[in-house]
């Protein structure tokens, strides 16, 4: 039987790295996610599974360590929070360009700048539209529970290797710091060198006589070749949009209105639904689980059914653009959010629905 534990989101994801057979974690402390590294250091997986855990000198070093490890076909991961993720932007862009699989966890805090250490969802644009330079996309998973923190570590690695792409797990201070019960999946063995050679034949593990040398790079000085490469990336993102959309529909069947919210906001919206339905307002929730690929189609379909949508984000309104792009003018879309580390309460969300959508 799987194990049941009461854990913080940050601890659960750290434990899940170990169990998912991760080869290496490289990180730098920052609130509200320092427990990830702390948990790993306390567990010492290097003495059990052989997983490397290293506190880097900075976030920049950490993401480049991840680059190095991923280039060897290893399962590697880093975690940070908003300012630290900004520092990793160049490295993430490199990894997307070099088509390297890895996990990057962002336990979002309030920005811009040093901002606040309290929860926020202000990094949606950064994660989904490209914090780094150039045409690239990350697969972005948004866990809404401690259970998903653990599960998405495994899923994230699967997707990363399936598409040879960095995967971002976008959490926030609520999900990272809260404890819930979590059913942990069983320990998976780390890949052997032989398995890595099969799974990632492109990896730089030493050029044996049976193959051409392997190169990890994001550079091509020949524009025609570089263009082909970028088109190939573009095709991959299209494929991901076809295959990997994930979302949760809650009480949408009879809904006249829809909340669109992810992560901790989606949790709060569930309480809002209880309140609203008690008042007779038929509202449901569409929770994007993948922020990229964004659940456009289902939203576009829901737009035919409902009278309006309210996006609820702990930001000034970022995901709302993707919702608007999805519904393409079919239905009214408004945003409600709190910022700066403030968290919207279930009833103020209901009030916003009444005011901006139903009454508005």
């Amino acid at each position: 039987m799987k194990e049941l534990r009461l854990m913080k989101g940050n601890e659960a994801i750290a434990e899940a790295f170990i169990r998912a057979g991760a080869d290496g974690y490289f990180g730098y402390p920052i609130t509200p996610q320092s427990e990830v590294l702390e948990y790993l250091m306390a567990q010492k997986p290097y003495e059990t599974t052989g997983m490397v855990v290293l506190q880097a000198e900075s976030e920049v070093a950490a993401i480049n360590m991840v680059y190095g490890g991923a280039g060897c076909g290893k399962k590697v991961v880093t975690s940070s929070s908003s300012p630290g993720i900004s520092l990793k932007a160049e490295g993430i862009s490199y990894m997307a360009g070099a088509e390297l699989p890895c996990l990057v966890v962002n336990v979002v805090r309030g920005g811009p700048g040093l901002g606040t250490i309290q929860p926020s969802q202000g990094d949606y644009f950064q994660s989904t539209k490209g914090g780094g330079h150039g045409d690239y996309k990350l697969i972005v998973l948004a866990p809404a529970s401690v259970q998903e923190m653990a599960d998405f570590a495994k899923l994230g690695f699967e997707l990363a290797f399936k598409y040879r792409t960095p995967v971002m797990i976008q959490s926030d201070g609520v999900i990272g710091q809260m404890m819930e019960k979590v059913e942990l999946f069983e320990q998976m063995p780390r890949w052997t060198n032989e398995e890595i050679k099969k799974i990632s034949p492109w990896a730089t593990v030493g050029k044996t006589p049976d193959r051409e040398r392997n190169i990890i790079t994001s550079l091509d000085l020949d524009p025609a070749r570089q263009e082909r490469h970028v088109y190939k990336l573009g095709a991959k993102y299209k494929e991901i949009e076809e295959n990997e959309v994930r979302f949760e529909k809650i009480q949408c069947d009879d809904a006249e209105y829809i909340f669109v919210a992810y992560g901790s906001s989606a949790r709060i919206c569930q309480k809002s639904i209880e309140i609203a339905r008690a008042k007779g307002i038929k509202v449901g929730l569409l929770r994007p689980i993948t922020l990229f690929p964004f659940p456009k189609k289902v939203l576009n379909k829901l737009a035919d059914q409902v009278k309006g949508m309210l996006t609820v984000e702990m930001s000034l309104g970022q995901m709302i653009e993707d919702v608007q792009l999805a519904v393409n003018g079919k239905v009214k879309v408004e945003h409600y959010g709190r910022v700066g580390g403030m968290i919207p309460s279930p009833d103020e969300i209901v009030a916003a629905l009444e005011q901006k959508i139903i009454g508005g």
Binding site: L54, A61, N64, G68, G71, G206, T217, S218
Partner: protein, 256 residues
């Protein structure tokens, strides 16, 4: 006697390393990068470790090192090769890992990664090509540009009062306990090449023995950036770079 009698396979005493790819080097005529590449490849070839070696190329003229070296290579972002190499080595401690970096890469933007990889004593080799300039981007001032030297961003010569002092990063890292071996070499004469070769070999042998970090600086020319002929640039280097960056070992293992 005829030359043809000499030029026979059995008389061959020196030729291109087999670990070079067929691709012609993209470096400017006379650039020391090519020579340094050769020494690294010769070492790997001699030690027979080509299938166990992973190189890390920088951003700089040698960004394309992976085009020329017939081994597995990762191209790191500007300045971060030591971090990249750290992870590779830690995840595959049985492999040989080296970085190959220019002075802008290693001593400017990459200062923190250099210092910390050295300080952690990562069991890797760092080959550091100090040509006192940013070759790749067209000859801008580097941290290592010597006083009064003209570059495209110090067109009237490096004014140390404004632009800072040339940085002897090699002397700095030599202080760190994690650095096991630290030396400064050159590759512009046959004698220098022989010594540099030995130093690189020593560095890789250290890695084999898990001794920690070996740091090999090679003072080299950038005739394009310096706006000289290759031959003149080597003379200028001897007269101007070597006095400030004296060749020789800086830190040698005390045990034997």
């Amino acid at each position: 006697m005829d030359i043809k009698d000499i030029i026979k396979p059995e008389n061959l005493v020196y030729s291109k390393s087999k670990l070079f790819t067929d691709k012609a080097l993209s470096y400017c005529p006379g650039c020391g990068h090519g020579t340094a590449h050769k020494l690294v490849l010769q070492t790997i070839e001699e030690m027979g470790i080509e299938s166990e070696t992973i190189g890390v190329a920088p951003v700089g003229c040698s960004v394309l090192a992976y085009e020329f070296m017939d081994i597995d290579i990762q191209q790191a972002s500007h300045g971060r090769a030591p971090a990249v190499a750290t992870a590779i080595k830690r995840l595959m401690p049985e492999k040989f890992v080296f970085t190959y970096q220019g002075d802008g890469d290693l001593a400017a933007i990459g200062t923190a990664e250099t210092i910390h990889a050295c300080n952690r004593g990562e069991n890797i080799v760092i080959i550091f090509i100090n040509n006192g300039i940013y070759g790749m981007t067209g000859g801008q001032m580097a941290p290592t540009t010597i006083a009064k030297m003209k570059t495209s961003t110090s067109p009237y010569g490096r004014d140390t009062a404004i632009m800072g002092n040339p940085l002897k990063i090699t002397e700095l890292v030599a202080q760190l306990p994690g650095v096991y071996y630290c030396t400064r070499q050159a590759v512009h004469t046959a004698a220098a090449v022989r010594k540099a070769k030995k130093a690189i070999r020593q560095a890789f042998e250290n890695q084999k023995l898990k001794k920690g970090l070996s740091f090999v600086e090679i003072v080299s020319n950038c005739n394009s950036g310096w706006k000289m002929t290759p031959v003149d640039s080597n003379i200028w280097m001897e007269n101007n770079m070597f006095p400030f960056y004296p060749l020789g070992d800086i830190k040698v293992p005390t045990e034997k």
